[in-house]
């Protein structure tokens, strides 16, 4: 069976993109979707389109909303990247490019695939680029037509593309010139000159159209990148690659040897893999995994997630500790007390990061602990520092929830009404709009959190997180999560006395809590009859074994780690 490389390559390419974004880079897709909110309103349309490149931005945002389902979002991305390759290929064909160099037309798509690994690059640039090549392809169809028509198109198309899609107007200009020079007998210098004049006029008028933006943003035009300091060099390289590929395909002589075609295909794939490997960010994918799972309260998923890092990021330890504290075993014992020290712990910052380091996971922790107003503040802060000033659904949904819980119905309704204009959060918002105060009270999450809110006002100081926990615990001694956080805070701080004073002897005590108690008894040489809370004999033996080994090995941490890494005894002894 003969394989037609021209048909097979795009198919495999599309499938590879889809698999990559739907499975390997899934949480990036979900994160990007949550960081924006596409609204089906006239105001949103006007606000988005009302700047150079705004139309491309609008289409980009429209498509990104489908990232809600990663499989659909990945399919859209795959289609767009394949379309880019196809348009470049069609352009090359139109200017009589060589068939044998066909694999080169994949390079710009590979380049953009790599860029899309960075969550800050939007789809707007890709859409703009596809449209630019597509429009010039339409223009090329008229190459045998009269020069006056081509002249008119070349004069008008550049400012129009700039206004609609932004900086890809530059590539349109370059492609028009290539197209015009490739029309051998009908080449008209006036048509090319009109394109040049059009560029000059666009450059002169651009600052008046959009006076508030920087020069680099003026050059790019659209929102191709979420931050204001768009990495210009990336786009220059990308656009140069498009032009370079076209020129190579046009001017390098044709060769008919099959092996050269195969080598070229392999070389292009290798180059593409290198691009993607360079931009692939496993750490941020992991962070996005935790953000997604913490928000969706998939505690099992977090606990099951394999950790490959020897020293996980604080966001990981924050997430895993929250997941452990929210989960219970068959006996109803909290997993944080059972196994927290089996994971890498690093002092108090393992429980919650400083707000300047992270607003998002911290807001989730505060929300679950019952610090509803503070969680709301954190979410709001996270929303306002979003680089492209978009009010993401991630934030708006949580702002609606915190206001519902806190009883600020009108504010909650304001957010819910906004969400009613979205495609995928419409029903979510409708359901909550229908909720009465009684419904909220009886809701297992909202009702519980409403009860666990602080009863009095106090100034929340993240620097004194333990004190904040103590305040809320005094007001709600029945808040098990706060209690576990407080117990863990004492353990992480090696404060065994305060830890022991908080242990409830009436309940089943988790394994590592018992270990800490046994350690306290041994350190203070408390005889067994005076031990106010009983510890299982096997655990006391474990602790005694540790103490014995510590003495034998003169406190050599490396030796002890072989046997006791993952125990509280090890943490207590070597966390100075």
């Amino acid at each position: 069976m003969k394989i037609n490389i021209k048909k097979a390559f795009p198919l495999f390419f599309g499938i590879a993109i889809w698999v990559f974004f739907a499975f390997i880079y899934k949480y990036h897709i979900l994160y990007i979707e949550k960081m924006q909110m596409f609204l089906f309103t006239k105001e949103y349309f006007i606000a988005t389109v009302g700047h150079p490149g705004g139309f491309g931005d609008y289409i980009s945002r429209f498509l990104i909303q489908f990232y809600y389902y990663p499989a659909v979002g990945s399919a859209i991305l795959a289609l767009l990247l394949c379309s880019l390759q196809k348009e470049i290929f069609v352009f090359c064909k139109n200017i009589n490019g060589k068939d044998s160099l066909y694999p080169l037309t994949f390079i710009p798509s590979f380049f953009y695939w790599a860029l899309m690994c960075n969550e800050n690059f939007t789809m707007a640039g890709l859409i703009g680029l596809i449209c630019a090549v597509w429009i010039v392809n339409i223009y090329l169809k008229n190459k045998k037509g009269n020069a006056a028509f081509r002249g008119l198109i070349s004069f008008l198309i550049i400012p129009v593309i700039w206004l609609l899609f932004g900086g890809t107007a530059i590539i349109t200009f370059a492609l028009i010139l290539i197209a015009e020079f490739s029309i051998k007998k009908k080449h008209n210098i006036i048509v090319s000159s009109l394109a040049v004049i059009s560029v000059i006029i666009t450059i002169i008028l651009a600052p008046y159209v959009s006076p508030q933006v920087t020069n680099s943003d003026m050059f790019i035009g659209g929102n191709y990148y979420k931050y204001t300091d768009t990495p210009l060099s990336m786009f220059v390289w990308l656009w140069t690659s498009v032009v370079a590929v076209i020129l190579i395909v046009k001017y390098i002589p044709n060769f008919n040897k099959k092996w050269i075609s195969i080598v070229l295909t392999v070389a292009v794939i290798c180059l593409g893999v290198c691009f993607i490997a360079k931009e692939y960010n496993k750490e941020s994918e992991n962070i996005m995994f935790y953000i997604d799972h913490v928000r969706s309260r998939d505690w099992k998923g977090i606990i099951k997630h394999k950790i490959t890092d020897k020293k996980p990021s604080p966001l990981f330890t924050n997430s895993i500790n929250l997941a452990l504290a929210m989960s219970k075993n068959e006996e109803g014992v909290s997993l944080i007390g059972e196994s927290a020290f089996k994971y890498y712990q690093n002092g108090l910052m393992s429980l919650i990061s400083k707000p300047e380091d992270d607003w998002v996971i911290s807001s989730e922790i505060l929300y679950n602990l019952g610090f509803i107003n503070e969680a709301q503040r954190y979410v709001f802060e996270a929303m306002v520092i979003t680089p492209d000033n978009q009010t993401g659904t991630f934030f708006i949904t949580r702002l609606a929830e915190t206001n519902l819980i806190a009883g600020r119905r009108k504010v909650a309704d304001k957010y819910l009404h906004i969400l009613e204009n979205t495609l995928f959060y419409h029903y979510w918002a409708k359901e909550r709009l229908k909720m009465s105060e009684d419904d909220i009270d009886s809701n297992p999450i909202y009702g519980h959190l409403r009860k666990m809110q602080p009863k009095t006002d106090f100034l929340f100081n993240p620097e004194e997180f333990v004190r904040m926990l103590k305040i809320i615990f005094i007001q709600h001694p029945d808040n098990d999560l706060v209690k576990d956080y407080l117990l863990m805070a004492f353990l992480l701080d090696n404060n065994l006395n305060d830890f022991a004073s908080l242990i409830d002897s009436q309940k089943i005590i988790p394994h590592q809590y018992q270990e800490a108690l046994a350690l306290l008894y041994e350190i203070n040489s408390i005889p067994s009859e005076n031990r106010f809370i009983k510890v299982e004999e096997s655990i006391t033996k474990e602790v005694n074994h540790f103490i014995e080994m510590y003495g034998k090995n003169a406190g050599n941490a490396s030796v002890l780690a072989k046997y006791f890494w993952g125990t509280y005894c090890f943490y207590y002894t070597f966390r100075y």
């Binding site: 020897k310 020293k311 690093n346 490396s558 100075y576």
Partner: protein, 141 residues
């Protein structure tokens, strides 16, 4: 971030703090020790392929040693001393202690690699300075 960079960062922050606090007493920048220790532990983990428990121990040593070193440096700064030698002496002393702790944590291969790296070069420089200091003290008596 090498040890030298840690010292330089601390020294710059201490110097800047004195300037900033003189101009605006409320805006004194805090040294984030856990963050500094974590970054340095990350760096050592990458360079010497440390195991999970070794990273924990390294981080722990740094979190214990850095605050004491900063405290001593602050005391010297507050006493009005401005000569570089005093700061150098304290940093050398604490870096030596840190190295002693690392020696116990690292395996033989890791320690040899450590000595061959920029950390080892710094250690040699410190040893030279210590020798010089001891010689000058002997000459005085």
């Amino acid at each position: 971030m090498s040890n030298l960079k840690i010292i330089l960062t601390i020294a710059v922050i201490l110097t800047c703090n004195s300037i900033i606090s003189a101009q605006n007493p409320q805006k004194e920048e805090k040294i984030n020790i856990p963050e500094m220790a974590a970054k340095e532990a990350d760096n050592l983990m990458g360079l010497f392929k440390l195991e999970e428990y070794q990273v924990f121990l390294v981080d722990s040593v740094l979190q214990a040693n850095l605050p004491v070193m900063i405290e001593e440096m602050t005391k010297i700064k507050q006493s009005g001393a401005s000569n570089q030698e005093s700061f150098q002496y304290i940093s050398d002393k604490w870096l030596d202690k840190t190295d002693e702790a690392f020696f116990k944590i690292f395996t033989k291969e890791q320690w040899n690699k450590y000595l061959k790296s920029s950390y080892g070069k710094e250690k040699k420089k410190r040893d030279k300075r210590l020798k010089k200091l001891l010689n000058s003290n002997e000459n005085q008596y």
